[in-house]
Structure formats: C-alpha cells, structure tokens
C-alpha cells in the first residue's frame, strides 16, 4: 500500500478519542503517528513545540527500540515510557502500525495515563480496522467527490516552487 486515506468520518472519531484521552488524564498532548513517522492526528497544544517533529521523533524512537528488541530476540516492546524532570512521555503501539503518544506532567500520574491509553488504544484499533476496510471497499479511492489529483498538471507542480 503506498498511501493511506484518512476519511473524514474516521478522522473525526480518532480526534475525539484523543481529546477524551487528554481530558480524562489531564495530559498536555495526545497524538497518533503512523509507524513511518507520518502524523495522523493530535489533541492538545504545546507552546513552541512542533507536533510534526514530535511525531517523527516518537516514530524514530519506536523504530530504534524495535530494532533493539529484534537484536535481543524479543517480539517487540509494546510500551515505552520516558520520564523527564517536568514532562513525561508514554508511548504504546496500536495494531503494530500506529503509535499513540501521551505527553503529561506532574498534574497526572503514570498509572492513570497507562490505564486510559490502553482503553483508548482498543477504541482506536477499531477505527483503524474500519478505515482499512473502507479503503479496500472504495478501491482506495477518495470517497469524496474530487480527488486533488484528478487533473493536476506539471504546471501546478511547477507553481509550488515559485
């Protein structure tokens, strides 16, 4: 598969699950990245921190940890936790294809984040399963009226670089 379509309906569901997770735990940010580093969705705000970069680094971190697991003859590590002086980062895998990361500080606890992240992951897994089925069914077409690519020309692409 060379691309993934994040249909509007499922995208909204994912956002809702993330925002609930954030609310329930009092976390600062909850975000989903695809394992290759593509940002899917996030909830929450961080002053001066680029969530796209955060996503790339989280994905890189997970990939390196998985390499480590392979080297050690492990299947993988389902869960990762980084503890900082102010910020903590809880990371877990969904379906082995997506990564859920929750950034939180002292106002909440690891136990609570872990519990809620687990629940959210179950819900998210269902949404991603639905999304994949939809892509199959729609023959990976846009599902919405116009595709941005139906009639793009070399000219349109040239213009991006003006």
């Amino acid at each position: 598969m060379s691309y993934l379509i994040l249909y509007g309906e499922e995208y909204e569901e994912i956002k809702k699950i993330l925002s609930e997770l954030k609310e329930e735990t009092g976390a600062r940010v909850a975000l989903i990245v695809e394992k290759n580093g593509q940002p899917i969705a996030f909830s929450g705000e961080m002053d001066g921190v680029d969530t796209t970069s955060l996503g790339s680094l989280v994905a890189g971190n997970v990939a390196a940890t998985e390499g480590l697991a392979r080297l050690l003859g492990e299947q993988g590590f389902a869960l990762m936790f980084n503890e900082g002086q102010n910020e903590n980062l809880h990371i877990n895998l969904i379906e082995r294809k997506f990564i859920l990361a929750v950034l939180f500080d002292k106002r909440t606890s690891l136990g609570l984040v872990r519990l809620r992240a687990k629940n959210a992951s179950v819900k998210l897994e269902k949404v991603f399963t639905k999304l994949e089925a939809k892509m199959e069914k729609e023959h990976r077409k846009m599902g919405e009226k116009e595709s941005p690519f139906e009639d793009i020309s070399e000219d349109d692409i040239e213009k991006l670089f003006k």
Partner: protein, 196 residues
C-alpha cells in the same frame, strides 16, 4: 506511505535523501531550512554525533503550497551515510514515497557512491519496494571541487533507470531546490496515477 486527509485537505509524503557518508545530504536539508519561510516549514531536527555526522536521521517538515486546495506537505529525511549505520538507514526508508540519491562527485568517492546505491537497492528489496516504480532523483553534488569526476562519466556509472539528474553545490544551494522539485514532481505524478 503518503497520507491523504480530505478533511484537513492535506497530503503528506515522505522523501528520503540517501547516499554515501559526507556526500552532502544534511547540507541539502539545511539549505532548504535556511531558505524557506518559517511559515512554510517546521523545525529541522538533526540527530548527530559530536562531529556533525548524522547518527540516526535528520527530518524537516515542509509545506510546499497548495494544489487544488490541498496543502502539499513533505517530510524530508536524511539517512546516516556511514557504512555501519545500515540498520538505521533501513528504518528510515520504511514507508518512503521518493528518494533523492546524493552522490559525491569527488573521484575518490566513486566506489562509495556505488556501494551506497547497492545498499539502497538491497534495503528496498527487503521491504519489497520496487526500485523500478520508485520516484528517484540523482543529485551529483560537490561540483565545485577540483577533483571531480566529469558529469558524463558519473551519469554513465550511476544512472539506473533514466532518472532526472541534477548537478549541485549544496553548500551554496546550487541545484538544491531543483532536486527537491524533481523529486516532489515524481512523487505527485505517481500518486496521481495510483489514485485513479
């Protein structure tokens, strides 16, 4: 793997700069970072050794503009070129939509270029990605140096499938945007074909 989000009206694809150590991959990204407005790009993240060699990867999110109301975004990655970081290169290549191969034009780096192209193909094979179908651009970098192999000679040795070739001097930015443009073009054209 490109990501299309109709709700946000955006398309995000991943382009990886590949090539031998010290060839100028990171220099390409730094130039792009320095010469695009802060509103169109995110942070340039570099994971380096003390000596400024790429240890794991660099990544730069870039917003090129819109086509038909869709924001066209790219995530530009570099791999670490040094031979022993093979595992990291493989990781970064996962889900790639297009590759820029940054070749070092200096005569003494000719073998390193060839080795790195072989390494790229080997890694693509491991993911079952077809090189034939991959949007791919060859950049001949460091054209400013005195000991370079002629462009014709390099093309003869390194061109693999009629890919676009751009001669560059990445430290001065010569050819850097042109390379990115060629790669972006191939990625978008491929997606266009696939999405019909």
């Amino acid at each position: 793997m490109a990501l299309l989000n109709p709700r946000l009206r955006e398309l995000i694809s991943k382009i990886v700069y590949y090539g031998p150590g010290l060839g100028g991959k990171t220099t390409n990204l730094k130039y792009i970072f320095d010469h695009t407005s802060p509103t169109t790009r995110g942070e340039l993240i570099t994971l380096n050794t003390e000596g400024d060699r790429t240890l794991y990867f660099d990544v730069l999110p870039l917003n090129l503009g819109t086509i038909k109301g869709y924001k066209i975004r790219f995530q530009l990655y570099t791999v670490p070129g040094q031979v022993f970081y093979s595992e990291s290169r493989k990781i970064i290549l996962r889900g790639v939509d297009g590759v820029v191969f940054v070749a070092d034009s200096q005569a003494e780096r000719l073998d390193a270029n060839i080795e790195s192209i072989e390494d790229l193909q080997e890694n693509l094979r491991e993911y079952d990605y077809s090189f034939a179908d991959l949007p791919y651009v060859l950049q001949l970098n460091k054209r400013d140096l005195p000991n370079v192999v002629s462009a014709d000679e390099m093309k003869k040795l390194l061109i693999l499938k009629g890919e676009p070739v751009v001669e560059s001097i990445a430290i001065r930015g010569v050819g850097v945007m042109e390379t990115l443009k060629q790669a972006a073009k191939l990625v978008l054209i491929k997606l266009k074909k696939e999405m019909r």
